[in-house]
Assembly symmetry: C2
């Protein structure tokens, strides 16, 4: 059983998270300081940093929630016997939808940026929080078993590349293609990684 | 004819570039300030910023030189009739080699980072300086003409995705895979984008 103290910590973390996300959306990420978040969630600055060593870590927690939500649906679809390529496409679309609606360009760009942070510790923390490649590998595993994936590369390598393609489409979209939908951009990149660029003979 | 003034400007820019690259390699990129570069290349701090509005802009110039070098070789190979997929692979390998030898992880990571800079103006400047996607499109064009590329996506879209895959492999390598060679990582990602992940029937 979870102790009282543990539950209190969990509730406080949750409160800081919700408050921070609200402030980010109201004022913008850059304009919101750790002090603003601490004040609005009734904790000290020091307490805030105990829970989140940097502001972007809040985003990682929030992104992890959204990713878990989409993954839960994908897993259920796999269990119902939906073909993996369809599950992957639906997973992509769901992530695009959640990203556009719950995060928006600014938060999404800071979140995706953490995954390519030049500081290896920060990038590692982002990978731990957002195990997209692992979920992709789970979705592809039935295809691998059925011999429907190429066999000269490992499943993990392919899953990593697909997750990387997702990440790049997001970085590109968040920064530089204001007129297109994220779902559309992601879909095209996914198709390329799945099927390649060379025509099938 | 280029005027004297133009030539002088060109020579000064060249001197700043060489000096800066030397300092970056000696002391590290983070440890080298604009003032260090200005001093070592005998110009004022203001003059340095006239040529390069930020330190990373020097890297863009240097990266552009290396890219031009690799592209010149690729173009010559295309003209000699080498098959485009081979040219693309050789181009990749050459870029990997130049990146490892002339830039190294630290400079390469700062250079690649510019292409995903959240500041759209900086990212745009990086794209102008490093038109990798355009070169990839040139290499693929003969394949498109010969009907050997898929036709449901534009050549530019495919070239962009290939260039993006390059960029991500570089970001990943520069930051987080100390034990692997860049050429090997790039080759695997290229294969996936060219041929896809699904087995060919």
């Amino acid at each position: 059983m979870q102790g009282l103290r543990e539950r209190q910590k969990q509730r406080r973390r949750e409160r800081i998270l919700r408050t921070a996300v609200e402030l980010f959306k109201e004022r913008g990420f850059q304009q919101t300081t750790a002090v603003d978040i601490a004040k609005a969630s009734h904790v000290s600055r020091g307490t805030f940093f105990n829970y989140y060593p940097y502001k972007e870590a809040v985003l990682l927690d929030y992104g992890a929630e959204l990713l878990e939500l989409a993954w839960g649906e994908a897993k259920a679809a796999l269990e119902r016997g939906v073909p993996p390529v369809e599950v992957l496409e639906a997973f992509w679309n769901r992530l695009a939808e959640l990203s556009e609606r719950e995060l928006g360009r600014e938060l999404l760009s800071h979140l995706a940026y953490e995954l390519v942070n030049p500081d290896p510790e920060r990038a590692h923390a982002a990978y731990e929080a957002l195990p997209l490649a692992q979920f992709v590998a789970e979705i592809l595993r039935p295809l691998a078993r059925a011999g429907r994936l190429r066999t000269d590369l490992s499943l993990d390598r392919m899953a990593n590349s697909i997750a990387d393609a997702f990440l790049l489409a997001v970085l590109r979209w968040a920064g530089h293609t204001p007129d297109r939908s994220l779902a559309g951009e992601l879909q095209k990149f996914l198709t390329i990684v799945l099927e390649g660029v060379l025509a099938r003979p």
